[in-house]
C-alpha cells in the first residue's frame, strides 16, 4: 500500500462550500441585459413530413424577436453526439428539418422578450404535417416493408462502418473469438434466454440550460451545462458554418449529467438564435422536455447463451444484441460496441460469439448513459453466470473468481474491438477483483445469508441474496486525449487550467489533488479553473470514465514539467545540482546540504530577478489502453410474494478503481451509481401510447428513488495499482451502475425461484412470474 500526502486522502471537494452556500454557480444563475428567452416547438407526430410551416402569426406577436425553422436555417447535416472527431455516430441530424421522427422532435424555435411570450408564440405556429407510418417496435425496424426513417440522401458516417438507413439499420458489428459451436458442444450445462432492458432517463437535477451571447469583440460565447465543452464548440461551429475561433464555450458548475449532456442538445439552437437576433439568448429545458427531448439509455433486446463444464470452466458465450437508437443515431454504434468491447473482457472464455445491431425507431432518442452498453450487457451475463454456478453446484463466489479476468491476463476482445472500432492489445496490469469478491462477500455475510435463505420464513415475504461481478474499461484507447496547463504565481500558488469537465463528479478536486501531490503543496495552493475553451486546453470531456485516469495523467505530466522548471531555477539559485534537490512542502530541499528554498522565493526570482521567465507548462495525455475497473456486488432482497414488490434490504459493493485519489468522493460516486442502478432495476419506466407519445414525462410518474427507498449500502474500496494511471488510479464514474440489474435478478431468483430476464422488475412483472411458475 503506497502512502501519499494528498492523494488517497478524502479532502473536501474544492467547490463544496460555495455550492452548499447557494452561490450563483450554475448556467441559469446569471441574467444578461437584453436577454431573450427561447422555447422550442416539438413534434406531435412520431413520424411525419412537414409540408409547410407558417410562422407569420408567431413572428407578429409582440415581443417575439425570431422564429427559426427549416425554412430559414441552413441545412447542415451532422451528429449531435459529443464524441471525438471524426465522430463514430452517423450524420443524420439537422438543426431543423422538414421531417419529424418522433414525438418530441424539434420543429421550430422562438426567441422572445419573455419565456411566457415565447411559449404563447409556439401556439401560433401552424405546422402542416403529412403523417407517416411509424416504427415503435425495434424488432420490426429492419423489416422489408418498414417505413424508412432516414430517407435523406446525405445521411452517412464519416468513418467506414456499416450503415444501411434504408432498412433503419444504423450499426452492425460482429465478433468471433475461438469456436463458439465447439465450445457450446463441450458444455455440460447450457443456459439460454431472451433478455430485455428498458429505457432510462438520467434525471440529472439541473435541466439542460444554455445562454449564448456575443462578447464585445463580436465572438459568440456559449455558457452551457455540458459534459463536452470542446465538442460543443466544434459541432456548433459546424452547424452554424462559422470557424471555431469565433466561438468560446464556458462550462460553469453543472448539476449532473450522467451522459445526458454528452451531446449538443440545445447549444446550436441557442447559438443560432443569438446569431439571428444578435442578442443574448437563454434556452432552458423544462423537466418534461428533459424527459422527452433530451436523451435516454438505449433499450436493448439481447439473446444470450452460455455453456459451462462441470468443473466450472466457461466453455462458450453467445450474445446477440439489438439496440434501439430511436430516431437519431448519436452513440448508437458506440453503445452497441461496448456491449462486447467493454462488457465481455471480464470473462475467461475462449469461445465468444457476439453480434450487434442498432436500429432506428420513432420513439425516444438514445444517447450516452452511464454504463454505456455495459449496463445492458452485464444483465444477461450476470444472470447466466448465476444460473451456471447453480447448475453445477458451485458457490457463485467461487464461480466468479474462477471465470473472471485476472492481473496479467489479456482478452482477445481488447485487440479486436473498442468503443469506436479497432481495439488495442492490452494486458490487465491491475486487478483486485478476487479480493473484491472475497471482501465483499465477507462484509455482506454472503455465506451465512445464502445458507439462511435456503429455508424461507413463513408468510408472504421471501428473502434471497444474489451477486454479480462487473467491469467498465475507462477511456476510448487511442482516441481520447486530455490536456492541462499550469502557471506559477508569486506566493507559490498555481493556476491549473484543465479542459476536464467536472459535472459534479469532483473531478476538479481529484485533479487538484494529483497536481498538489506531485509538487508537494497543499491543495489550497492549486487554483483550478475548468472549463473555458479559450483558456483551458483541450479535453475530450466527462465521459467514458476518463477524468481521473486521463485528465489526471495530463495534470500529473504538467506538474512534472513544472517541477523540472522549479528545480532548475532552484539549482541555479542554490548552486547545487538538480539531482540533489527535491520538492517538499511548498519548497525545494537539498538532500545534500539541507538548504531550503521556498516556492515563493523561487518564483520571484524567476519572474523578476534572473533569466526571467514564467514557470508554466502544458502537457497532454493520450489513452493507450482502457484500464479495467472492477466491482463485485451483493444484494439482499425481500420479495413480497403477494404483491410482487421487491425491496432491496442491503447492498454491498467492493470496488477496484486502482488508487482512490479521494476515497470519500469515490465512495460517493459508487453510492450514487448503485442507487441509480437499483432504481432503474425496480421502479423507473417509461410508458408510451400507440402513436408514440410519452405518457409519463415527469417525476410524478417516472419514479426514481428518494432517501426513503434506499437500502443499507456499503461501499468498500479495494485498492490495486494501475501503472499507467496517475498514482495508480484507474477510473470509477460508471462501473457501479452495471451491478444492480443482474445482482437483484439473481437475489430474486434465490428468494422465489424465478429468473427475471426483463427489466424493470416491477411488482406486476414479479407477481406474474410467480403466478406463472
Amino acid at each position: 500500500m503506497r502512502e501519499f500526502s494528498i492523494v488517497g486522502k478524502s479532502v473536501a471537494k474544492v467547490d463544496a462550500l460555495p455550492l452548499v452556500l447557494g452561490k450563483p454557480l450554475f448556467t441559469d444563475d446569471i441574467e444578461l441585459k437584453g436577454m431573450l428567452h427561447a422555447r422550442i416547438l416539438w413534434s406531435s407526430y412520431a413520424h411525419a413530413k412537414i409540408r409547410n410551416i407558417d410562422t407569420s402569426a408567431a413572428e407578429a406577436l409582440t415581443g417575439v424577436r425570431a422564429v427559426l425553422c427549416y425554412k430559414n436555417v441552413p441545412r447542415v447535416i451532422h451528429t449531435e453526439a459529443g464524441q471525438s472527431w471524426p465522430e463514430a455516430s452517423p450524420y443524420d441530424t439537422v438543426l431543423f428539418d422538414n421531417k419529424v421522427r418522433y414525438v418530441g422532435d424539434r420543429v421550430a424555435v422562438v426567441a422572445a422578450e419573455s419565456e411566457e411570450i415565447a411559449t404563447r408564440a409556439l401556439g401560433l405556429i401552424k405546422v402542416d404535417y403529412e403523417p407517416l407510418p411509424a416504427i415503435l417496435d425495434p424488432e420490426m425496424a429492419m423489416d422489408e416493408d418498414a417505413p424508412v426513417i432516414h430517407d435523406e440522401p446525405d445521411c452517412r458516417y464519416l468513418i467506414p462502418v456499416f450503415y444501411d438507413p434504408k432498412h433503419n439499420h444504423l450499426a452492425h458489428i460482429d465478433l468471433d473469438v475461438g469456436d463458439f459451436e465447439r465450445g457450446i458442444k463441450e458444455a455440460d450445462f447450457v443456459t439460454e434466454h431472451k433478455f430485455k432492458t428498458h429505457y432510462e432517463q438520467h434525471c440529472a437535477l439541473e435541466p439542460h440550460t444554455c445562454i449564448c451571447y456575443f462578447d464585445p469583440t463580436g465572438r459568440l460565447v456559449i455558457r452551457t451545462s455540458t459534459q463536452v465543452p470542446f465538442h460543443v464548440r466544434r459541432i456548433v461551429a459546424q452547424c452554424l458554418q462559422i470557424p471555431e475561433r469565433m466561438i468560446s464555450v464556458i462550462k460553469p458548475r453543472v448539476g449532473g449529467g450522467f451522459g445526458s449532456k454528452q451531446e449538443v442538445v440545445i447549444e446550436h439552437v441557442c447559438a443560432a438564435l443569438t446569431m439571428r437576433t444578435t442578442r443574448p439568448v437563454r434556452l432552458a429545458y423544462t423537466r418534461e422536455e428533459v424527459f422527452v427531448s433530451s436523451r435516454t439509455r438505449h433499450p436493448m433486446v439481447m439473446w444470450a447463451k452460455a455453456g459451462v463444464k462441470k468443473d466450472g470452466a466457461l466453455s462458450a458465450i453467445y450474445l446477440r444484441v439489438l439496440s434501439n437508437a430511436g430516431p437519431y443515431g448519436s452513440h448508437g454504434m458506440t453503445v452497441l460496441s461496448n456491449t462486447c468491447a467493454k462488457a465481455l473482457p471480464l470473462y475467461r472464455c475462449d469461445n465468444i460469439k457476439w453480434i450487434g445491431d442498432t436500429v432506428y425507431t420513432n420513439l425516444l432518442r438514445g444517447g450516452a448513459y452511464r454504463g454505456y452498453g455495459v449496463t445492458q450487457a452485464s444483465f444477461p451475463m450476470g444472470v447466466m453466470m448465476d444460473e451456471m454456478a447453480n447448475a453445477i453446484g458451485m458457490d457463485p463466489v467461487d464461480f466468479w473468481k474462477m471465470n473472471t479476468i485476472r492481473k496479467g491476463d489479456t482478452s482477445p476482445i481488447f485487440t479486436a474491438l473498442s468503443e469506436t472500432g479497432r481495439g488495442v492489445e492490452m494486458i490487465v496490469e491491475s486487478c483486485s477483483l478476487p479480493e473484491c469478491i472475497e471482501k465483499g462477500a465477507e462484509i455482506f455475510g454472503w455465506k451465512e445469508k445464502r445458507k439462511r435463505y435456503k429455508y424461507q420464513p413463513d408468510g408472504p415475504i421471501k428473502l434471497g441474496v444474489g451477486m454479480s461481478c462487473i467491469v467498465q474499461g475507462g477511456t476510448v484507447p487511442l482516441v481520447d486525449m486530455a490536456a492541462a496547463s499550469a502557471k506559477m504565481n508569486e506566493d507559490g500558488s498555481f493556476n491549473l487550467l484543465v479542459g476536464a469537465a467536472d459535472i459534479g463528479t469532483g473531478a476538479d478536486t481529484v485533479l487538484a489533488q494529483i497536481f498538489a501531490e506531485t509538487l508537494s503543496i497543499p491543495i489550497d495552493d492549486v487554483i483550478l479553473h475548468s472549463t473555458d475553451t479559450d483558456i483551458t486546453p483541450y479535453d475530450k470531456g466527462a465521459y467514458a470514465s476518463s477524468t481521473t485516469y486521463l485528465s489526471g495523467m495530463a495534470v500529473l505530466k504538467t506538474a512534472e514539467k513544472i517541477k523540472e522548471q522549479i528545480l532548475r531555477v532552484a539549482a541555479d539559485m542554490i548552486g547545487e545540482p538538480e539531482g540533489d534537490l527535491v520538492v517538499k512542502n511548498k519548497a525545494v530541499v537539498s538532500s545534500k546540504s539541507g538548504k531550503v528554498l521556498q516556492f515563493s522565493q523561487i518564483i520571484r526570482s524567476a519572474l523578476y530577478n534572473r533569466n526571467q521567465f514564467q514557470i508554466a507548462a502544458t502537457a497532454s495525455s493520450l489513452s493507450k489502453v482502457p484500464p479495467q475497473t472492477f466491482a463485485a456486488h451483493f444484494a439482499e432482497v425481500a420479495v413480497d410474494t403477494e404483491t410482487g414488490q421487491v425491496k432491496v434490504i442491503s447492498y454491498v459493493a467492493a470496488v477496484d478503481c486502482g488508487t482512490a485519489i479521494n476515497p470519500k468522493l469515490a465512495e460517493g460516486q459508487a453510492e450514487g451509481a448503485i442507487v441509480n442502478g437499483i432504481s432503474y432495476a425496480l421502479t423507473e419506466e417509461f410508458f408510451f401510447d400507440n402513436v408514440g407519445r410519452t405518457l409519463n414525462p415527469s417525476f410524478e410518474s417516472y419514479k426514481i428513488f428518494s432517501a426513503l427507498d434506499i437500502p443499507k449500502i456499503r461501499v468498500i474500496l479495494v485498492p490495486s495499482f494501475e501503472p499507467t494511471g496517475p498514482y495508480g488510479a484507474k477510473t470509477l464514474g460508471e462501473v457501479n451502475i452495471n451491478g444492480p440489474l443482474p445482482t437483484i435478478s439473481n437475489a430474486i431468483s434465490q428468494a422465489v425461484g424465478v429468473r427475471l430476464c426483463e427489466t424493470p422488475f416491477t411488482p406486476e412483472r414479479v407477481l406474474k412470474a410467480l403466478k406463472g411458475k
Binding site: 452548499v20 450522467f258 423537466r287 469532483g506 465512495e667 417525476f699
Partner: protein, 156 residues
Amino acid sequence: MKKEIEFTINGEKRKLAVNTKDLLLDVIRKDLGLTGTKYACGTGECGACTILMEEKPVLSCLMLAVMADKKNITTIEGIGTDKNPHPLQEAFVQAGAVQCGYCTPGMVLSAKALLDKNPNPTEVDIKRAIGGHLCRCTGYVKIIEAIQLAAKRMRR
C-alpha cells in the same frame, strides 16, 4: 396585474411589486437575485425549489409570489455565510454530501427544519425529512451521514 407585497426574507424586510402570475421561485431568483433556490421540475416533485416559510419547508415553484405577502422566508443564502457557515453546511462539506450541488440548498433547508424541531432524529426521521428531495448524484448515503454529523455537533 401588479400587486404590492411585503415580506421578510433572510431577516430583511422587502417590498416588491409583483405580477399575480409570478411564481415565488422566480421572484426569489430574479427580483431578489437569490439564485440558490432552484428550478428542477416545476411540479413539486423534486424539492430543489424548497424554501422555509414560517420555518416550514415549502415549494416555491408551487407558490404565487402574492402568497408570500406578510410572510417570513428563509432561503439557503440566509442560513450561513462563507465566514460563518451553518453547522449543516459544514457537515455537508465534510461528509462528502455535495456532489453536483444542485439539490443541496433545498436539502439543507429541510434538514435545518428537522434539526430545529428534533435535535436528535433517528435515521428514519432524517429520511422522512428529506424524502421530498430528489438527488441523482449521491444516492443519499452521505447526505444522511452529514445530517447525523450536524445533529451531533449542534447538540453539543
